[in-house]
Each structure stands twice: as structure tokens, then as C-alpha cells.
């Protein structure tokens, strides 16, 4: 997204969730969101098979003895 699109996304999503969306706050939040978006794009390139379940309650697996 462009910087302008990120600002619009933050403003609209904040309204949808009932969060305060004054101009200064939207600009600060958008800066954080933009950094995260860049990271999310990298993660999006990972191929996750459809049957891979979500790790909702994550449990580390013990190695076989």
C-alpha cells in the first residue's frame, strides 16, 4: 500500500473498531502499521499447505529419545 492508502486503512479500520482516530494518532499508528506490512509481505511468501493447522495453543514437540 502507498503511504496514503495506509493512512486511509488505519483511519477506516479504527472507525470500524470504535477506536479514536484523530489525525496525529492515525499518522503515528500508520507508521507502525507500514513497518509491519513490509514484514507481513515476507511471511506471505511462505507456502503453508492447506492442512496446516493453526497453532492456537502452541505446544513444543519433544524429540524422540
Amino acid at each position: 500500500m502507498t503511504d496514503e492508502q495506509v493512512l486511509q486503512f488505519v483511519q477506516t479500520s479504527a472507525l470500524a473498531l470504535g477506536l479514536p482516530a484523530d489525525e496525529a494518532r492515525v499518522a503515528r499508528v500508520a507508521a507502525h502499521f507500514k513497518r509491519t506490512e513490509t514484514m507481513a509481505q515476507l511471511l506471505d511468501q511462505v507456502d503453508c499447505p492447506a492442512d496446516l493447522e493453526i497453532a492456537e495453543i502452541y505446544c513444543p514437540k519433544q524429540l524422540a529419545p
Binding site: F9, V10, S13, A14, L17, G18, L19, P20, R25, R28, V29, A30, A31, H32, F33, T36, M39, A40, L42, L43, D44, V46, C48, L52, E53, I54, A55, E56, I57, Y58, C59, P60, K61, Q62, L63
Partner: protein, 465 residues
Amino acid sequence: MSLHNLSSVDIAQGISKGSFSASEVLQSSLDRIEATDKKVNAFTAKHVDRAIQKAQSIDALRASGASLPPLAGVPFAVKNLFDVQGQVTLAGSIVNRHHAPAKQDAFLIQQMAAAGAVLVGSLNMDEFAYGFTTENTHYGPCRNPHDTTRISGGSSGGSGTAVAAHQLPLTLGSDTNGSIRVPASLCGVWGLKPTFGRLSRRGTFPFVNSIDHLGGFANSLDGLATMYDAMQSPDPLDPGCHVKKVEPVLSSLQHGTQGLRIGVLNGFFEDNASPQAHEVVATAAKALGVHAQVQWPDATLGRIAAFIITASEGGALHLDNLRHRIEEMEPLSVDRFMSGALQPAAWYIKAQRFRRIYRDKVNALFENWDVLLAPATPVSAPVIGTDWLEIQGQTLPSRAAMGLLTQPISFAGCPVVAAPMWPSLNDGLPLGIQIISAPWREDLAFRVAKQLETLGICHLKKVEL
């Protein structure tokens, strides 16, 4: 004798032998806190009456001739996200001030009390644990005992500081992305982040349920092991506690490192480390006779996934606070909480699904290795208020970058002992290492840590306050 400088093991033995009483140990700790806490700001509350009562009960137990539990009379304190009966659980916020007081102690405090330890107070932290610096706007920044112009690390900053300042030998903290290991590194004390799901989290204020761990800090490795053993227990009332049995580490602490396959993490863990961080790992590796370099799988993606999950779950947890009390929230983290609340669900779900792939890759790595070494922080403690760090030519946001090297490890759930080290050219500031083992194998990390302590490589230093 300065009782506040003693390790928990020496304190318990001294009380058992009658060299001093639990009440004397407590008074020494309270005096030290009184003398130093204005300079370091570790404590947000002291629980003096209950501490006196507990110490007196230990002294009465000894007078009766009964055998004493392993931490009898040892003072400790907890990050203020642990429930303490009769106290409001602040979790570093002012938003929580109007909550009802806790009806009972957190599970781990109960475990510590059963082992004879004396709860003395609650400790400073980043608001709602979202930070690596404990620059808490509401309660003031926690200050590093080795240089009070610098941060202690976070989010368990008070827990690291209290041990480094010799106020107490043991403290408890939490670690989602590095919040025990970062302050342990910057304060120069021992820290433990156990396997995800090892210790019950019941009775603590959550941050990110799918990544939160509890653990502790100590001024000696034996003390850390004793505390860890005392806290272990299955807890059917915590769905995040996966253990079925206690697996103590104290009994195998002296087993040495012979036969262990030990390596040093390279790649991501080198690229994001300062020369001082490189030095401490090289020093530890040389002492252990370790030469192998090991690549951690998908470290960058692991960190990204942990970052996204943290932001989403944290933002969702505090949605009502963001809606109605946003002006009372920590200015240093509130915008990150809000950004997390707005993240698309697809990002979060992708990150959670990736965690399954990541777990299998990390476990595959540990088929060939027992213990891996890495720096705990990219740099030593920055000056309070630092916004940006330069690491190997990269300019990074300071408050997030302090967890760069811890985040990929905890995302896999691996246990880590954070060991205190002292780079040669660092103005006396510590920078610790992570001693990492496979999930559920804390014993191996402890054995390597013990070897490094025995060799004189990892240790605490006295502070002048």
C-alpha cells in the same frame, strides 16, 4: 556480613545452620532496598507485613527442629503482573489501578512460598509487558545498576535490576519475546526462560497468550536451578501448562559438558550483533572448546511471525482500553497496540500456521545439536531515551531491536538460560549470552551454564550505588 549479597543457596544453608535468621535476612534485604531503590526504581510495591510474617514462620519452623524447605527464608520479588493476594495487579499500567485486588497469589508465588521463599515486593515493568526497556512513563524508568543513566532492559526490568542491585537474590518475570533474557543481559544477572508450557501462568496478567512464558532471575546459577525446580508442577487449571511431571535440573547441574554437541549460531545472530556481542559468544565458545557454526532455520521469518502475533493478540486484549482509556495508556507503546489491533486476520493466521513449520525445522536442528549459543542482546544497555541504534551499519528502532536475538528462539518455545558476561571494551557494562537447548531439555542448558560459571566466564559483578 552483608546478607543481601549472598546467593539463595547460601541464605538457605545459613538459616538452616543457624548462622543467621530469616528475619535478619529479610531486614538486610529491606535495608538494601531502602538504600538503593531511589537510584534504580526497581520496586513499585513492598509487601513488608506479609514478608515479616513469613520470615518469622521460617524462624519458628527452624526452632521447632523441623527440616526446612529448599528456599527457606530466601527473599524474592515479582514483576507486577503476578497476582499478589490483596494487591491490585498493575501490569505496569495505571489503567488497571481500579481493578479489584487479587483474591489469591499467582500459582508460581504459591510454589515459591511452599519452598519457603519470602515475598518482599512487586517490581517495575513496561506497561502490559509491551517493551524491552522499562522506560515506564507512569512509574518512572527502571535504571541499570551498573550505570543509572542507562536502561535495565524489559519488560521485566525491575526483576533484573533488583537482582543486579543486590536487593534480592531471586525474582520472577515473564518473557514473551525476550523480556527475561534482555534485562538479564543488560543487568548482568542469571535468567531463565523455560520451555513454552513448562511453568503455569495461572494468576498472571497476560500479554500474548500463545507466546507468554514465566521464569526468573538469580544472582547464582544454583539459585536459579533451585528456584526453577521449586516452581515446576503440572497445573490442570492452566490450559497453557503442558507438563505432566516435574523434571528437576539441580541434580544434573554438575554433570559437565562432555559428550554434548554444542554450536554457535551464525547468520542472523551474527548479522544483528555488535562487536561486544560477538566477543562474549566467542569467549564462551572458546572456554567450552566449541568451534562449530550453526544456522538457525528461518530466524527472520520466525521473528516476523512472533512480531505479528504479539501485535495482534496484544491489540485485541486491550481493545477496550484503546477505545475508552487510550489517554491513560503508555505513550511509548499505545500506538503499537493500536496498530496491532488493526492488523488483518490473515496476517495473524499465516503467522500461527507458519509456527508449525518453524517448530518442526527447529526440532530438526536439535536432532544434531544439544546446546546452541548466541548473544542475548545486540548491544549492551543504551542510555535511557535512546530511539535509534546502529548495528552493523543498520539503523534500527532501539526499543524493538533489543529483542532481535531473543524473539526467534522463544517463538519456537526453546528453553534458554541467559548467562551474565562482561565484554572487555564496554565501560564495565554487561552483555549476556543465550544458552539454548531443545524444548523440554532445560537440564542441558543448565549443564553448559554451570560449566561456564565454573570456568569463571559467567558471573555477576558488584555494583556501587
